[in-house]
């Protein structure tokens, strides 16, 4: 027996040992190559890199590096508008038009000059393609029929932009800062057109912009490789290559950063940040984010009349353990915030009148005759931290006899139910589409006749007076007056609506200590890699 086993084991052991030695002879991992910045994140949501179409978090975070607009929010103070592809602008006497002078000698990454014709083509193309983010440009009253008449080339360097909607110039300029208003190279895009698609299919995976980076290679769901564009108006970036890798698992992202195979890791959970804190060579950076989390009740659900009872909404405001969630469970990744405008937006309301008080909630429910116990199905995204948050809500609401039954589903399923109003309650988050209060106010505080895309419609909340107030606010030019109006609207939503606005995100990401110059703003598209060095 021993005769037989010995040689076998010996052979196996030698092979294994040889293998191990061969492996250990390979050099240990070095840092990422110089001049290359490697970012690891979850990028499975990315649908399109065409700025007229892409509207997911991942694509929004990238557009700022690839494309430019006439005007953009100042990275250091997003309430200030900065000319980028425009050199300056003059507001028309009618307060419904602006004439832009383009930045002289501005070129796209391929060397083509940026002309008035490119500006007109880009804006008109986005409206006519009519993809997901086109509704933002529709706020200016533009549609496929009237947009061409609203965009006039005075000469190659000057373009006059007007809008039929009754909105202020400042609001219109903010609309033009959004990624859907990015300027593409008309000649290049048309050269790649297939079946009159305005180059849409090609632009989903290629770039034709003037931003600090251009796409070298895009492998869907795997990686995006961007090259520096030294010609970018405003200056090229300081690194040569930016690689964004899609790493679906958060623990693997953390590992890559720790080993030094990644420079920046996004989308890590509280546990990953806790594990990374104090690790040599790693820095955790925190940035403000305009993402606001809220609970929503569907008042149109006739099978559960309690949902339409304002007493339930009021009780729910005292049943969220705001501080337990923000500081305990989510370990500082969120802060308590109870109004729809995120901190950092002009007019944001920062008072927090509600706290966790189950006794008070029980009293409110008892007074309304709802103290016999209520069963509610709560829809939640099947992602962290939403599942943890929902479990906390389940436990805190149970203290007042409100039994939440969690239905944890993929995002697309949750949104399908919301749109069809076949849900009872949902825990959701909101990210503004542009840096103006109207983006958020029109969702929470407006329910016009055909408002199927507003959150108030989805809650079945009818409030004609508030809707009129919201529509009036967007027309006002005086900033102070607008702030006053939006604060009033926020208070009404805070007090009377079927929304329980609870938390605001603090965006955190982990990076190697040698990475300097990364900037990030409140909105999803305010991600800036151009000043990064390492």
């Amino acid at each position: 027996m021993l005769r037989m086993i010995h040689p076998t084991l010996h052979r196996y052991a030698s092979i294994l040992l040889g293998f191990a030695l061969a492996l250990s002879a390979w050099p240990a991992h070095a840092d990422t190559p110089p001049g290359i910045l490697v970012v690891v994140q979850a990028m499975d949501d990315l649908v399109s890199l065409d700025p007229a179409e892409g509207f997911e978090l991942s694509s929004e975070q990238l557009f700022g590096s690839i494309y430019q607009r006439l005007v953009q929010a100042d990275p250091d103070d997003p309430s200030v508008l900065k000319p980028v592809l425009a050199a300056s602008w003059v507001v028309g006497s009618d307060d419904r038009s602006v004439t832009f002078t383009l930045r002289p000698n501005a070129t796209f990454a391929n060397g083509d000059p940026v002309t008035a014709d490119d500006v007109i083509y880009s804006l008109s193309r986005a409206v006519k393609l009519n993809r997901s983010p086109a509704f933002i440009l529709n706020e200016l009253g533009w549609n496929a029929d009237n947009v061409d008449a609203s965009l006039i080339a005075v000469d190659a360097q000057h373009v006059r932009i007007s809008w039929p909607a009754s909105v202020s110039t400042n609001f219109a300029l903010h609309i033009l800062t959004t990624t859907v208003a990015s300027i593409v190279d008309k000649r290049d895009v048309l050269a790649h057109q297939q079946n009159d698609d305005q180059g849409n299919r090609w632009l989903r995976a290629h770039s034709s912009g003037s931003g600090p980076f251009s796409i070298r290679r895009y492998v869907p769901r795997e990686a995006l490789v961007l090259d520096a564009n030294p010609r970018s108006p405003g200056g090229g970036p300081r690194i040569k290559t930016l690689i964004i890798r899609n790493i679906a698992d958060a623990a693997t992202r953390r590992l890559l950063l720790e080993v030094g195979d990644a420079d920046i890791a996004r989308d890590l959970g509280p546990d990953q940040f806790t594990a990374l804190k104090g690790k040599p060579g790693i820095r955790i950076a925190q940035f403000p984010s305009a993402t606001v989390c809220y609970l929503l009740f569907n008042t149109t659900d006739t099978s559960n009349p309690a949902l339409a009872n304002p007493a339930l909404w009021e009780a729910a405001r005292w049943l969220v353990d705001y501080h337990g969630l923000a500081e305990g469970l989510l370990q500082g990744q969120f802060s308590v915030h109870q109004a729809f405008l995120a901190d950092g937006f002009p007019g944001a309301l920062d008072d927090t009148p509600y706290h966790f008080d189950p006794a008070r909630a029980r009293a409110i429910l008892a007074k309304a005759g709802l103290d016999h116990g209520i069963d509610i199905t709560l829809d939640v995204f099947n992602e962290e931290p939403f599942i943890d948050i929902a479990q906390s809500l389940q436990s805190s609401f149970a203290q007042a006899g409100v039994r939440l039954h969690l239905r944890i589903e993929a995002g697309a399923q949750v949104y399908t139910r919301l749109r069809a109003r076949t849900y009872q309650a949902a825990w959701l988050y909101w990210i503004p589409d542009y840096f103006d209060a109207h983006s958020t106010a029109s969702a929470f505080a407006s329910n016009p006749d055909n408002g199927s895309h507003t959150l108030a419609w989805r809650a079945g909340w009818s409030m004609p007076t508030l809707t009129a107030e919201t529509q009036k606010a967007v027309m006002i030019s005086d900033p102070a007056e607008r702030v006053r109006l939006y604060q009033d609207i926020q208070r009404q939503v805070q007090r009377e609506s079927p929304f329980v606005i609870s938390l605001q995100e603090r965006s955190q990401l982990a990076m190697r200590s040698n990475v300097q110059g990364y900037r990030q703003g409140l909105d999803a598209d305010m991600v800036y890699y151009d000043q990064v060095t390492k």
Binding site: V219, N246, L255, E258, Q413, R419
Partner: protein
């Protein structure tokens, strides 16, 4: 007489032709059934593909435009008909989640899974048969017990956990293996991948270090996947070997003075080829579709992860395309296995 010989000749050709025709018919029917079932199930999915494509904030007009573009406003049988016509032209449609042609995406991901699974299968088949021989040599002894434990680790410990732990140890701590991805960043996006098989493409690239990098990155996922099916290959082969040991020809060989090890390797093992091949084929099919967790943890492209993502996002064209590819792969593997078993086992000829 002439007529008779002609009849004989034609019947000699007709039999294999009939077999091929029947196989093709059965293949077509199986695939059509698979597609129909997947199509209907996808149609009743609670996810609205148009909404998934245009996003939550899109206007009603944009939403309607997307529904039309996705053919969602047509009745279900008509949609299935349209799909089959496009399929006949080699068009698998555009993925609703990435906007890219599904056929092109599958050409990228399938070779990656094929390469990883084949490598894992080779490792597990060779090791599994070796372990089974050792177990059958001393059944019930301590060698058998140790092998039982070893072979069950891969199939009983969650592969996701095993993957993370092995990454933490062999990649992060000891730096013995490559990390997530198929190559180091220096090569990953610079070498051309005409075959989609990273070992071959990195070898052909001529870039110094590219092939080493590919091997280093392949090592952990291949071993992990191999351990996942090692248990079933080793255990089922052991059972077949032990079953054969009671046959009369074994007693005869023993009577002639042959040693137990000789008998196992030279007499019993060849007679167990049929069941062994079947087990290996089953393992291969499960590797092709079951690599999803390995692909996720090691951030490698692959059809398992592709299909899971497609299901998660309700991406119907991608679900149908990936199901079709996996279906064809299953049928081919089973067909080839049947043929091999017939060739190797004279009793079945």
């Amino acid at each position: 007489m002439a007529a008779h010989s002609l009849f004989n000749t034609s019947s000699g050709i007709a039999a294999p032709l009939r077999a091929i025709r029947n196989s093709l018919l059965s293949l077509t029917l199986t695939l059509a059934g698979l597609l129909a079932i997947t199509f209907v199930m996808s149609a009743f999915s609670p996810i609205d593909p148009a909404l998934q494509q245009v996003g939550d904030h899109a206007s009603a007009a944009t939403y309607a435009q997307a529904r039309h573009a996705l053919d969602l406003d047509a009745p279900l049988p008509e949609r299935f008909g349209h799909y089959l016509v496009r399929l006949g032209h080699g068009d698998l449609g555009l993925s609703t989640a990435t906007g890219q042609p599904v056929a092109a995406e599958l050409r990228e991901v399938f070779p990656a899974t094929f390469e990883l699974s084949t490598l894992a299968l080779l490792i597990s088949a060779i090791t599994g048969i070796g372990l089974a021989l050792l177990s059958a040599r001393w059944p019930g002894g301590w060698v058998d017990s140790v092998i039982r434990v070893i072979s069950l680790i891969g199939s009983s410990v969650p592969i996701f956990w095993l993957g993370l732990v092995s990454l933490a140890l062999f990649y992060a701590h000891w730096h013995w293996a490559g990390g997530p991805g198929r190559l180091d960043d220096a090569y990953e996006y610079t070498i051309d991948m005409p075959t989609g098989l990273v070992l071959i493409d990195s070898w052909r690239s001529g870039m110094p270090g590219a092939f080493d990098s590919a091997i280093k990155h392949m090592l952990l996922p291949a071993l992990l996947l191999a351990s996942y099916v090692l248990g079933s290959i080793a255990r089922l082969t052991r059972t077949s070997l032990l079953g054969e040991l009671h046959q009369e020809y074994v007693t005869l060989a023993r009577a002639k003075g042959a040693g137990q090890s000789w008998i196992l390797v030279h007499h019993v093992l060849p007679n167990c080829m049929g069941p062994m091949l079947t087990v290996i084929a089953l393992a291969y099919t499960s590797l092709l579709q079951g690599a999803v967790l390995t692909e996720t943890v090691f951030a490698r492209p692959g059809i398992g992860r592709y299909l899971t993502n497609a299901l998660f996002y309700g991406d119907v064209p991608a679900i149908l395309g990936a199901t079709l590819v996996l279906g064809v792969a299953f049928i081919l593997i089973n067909g080839i296995t049947d043929m091999l078993v017939r060739l190797l086992d004279p009793r079945l000829r």
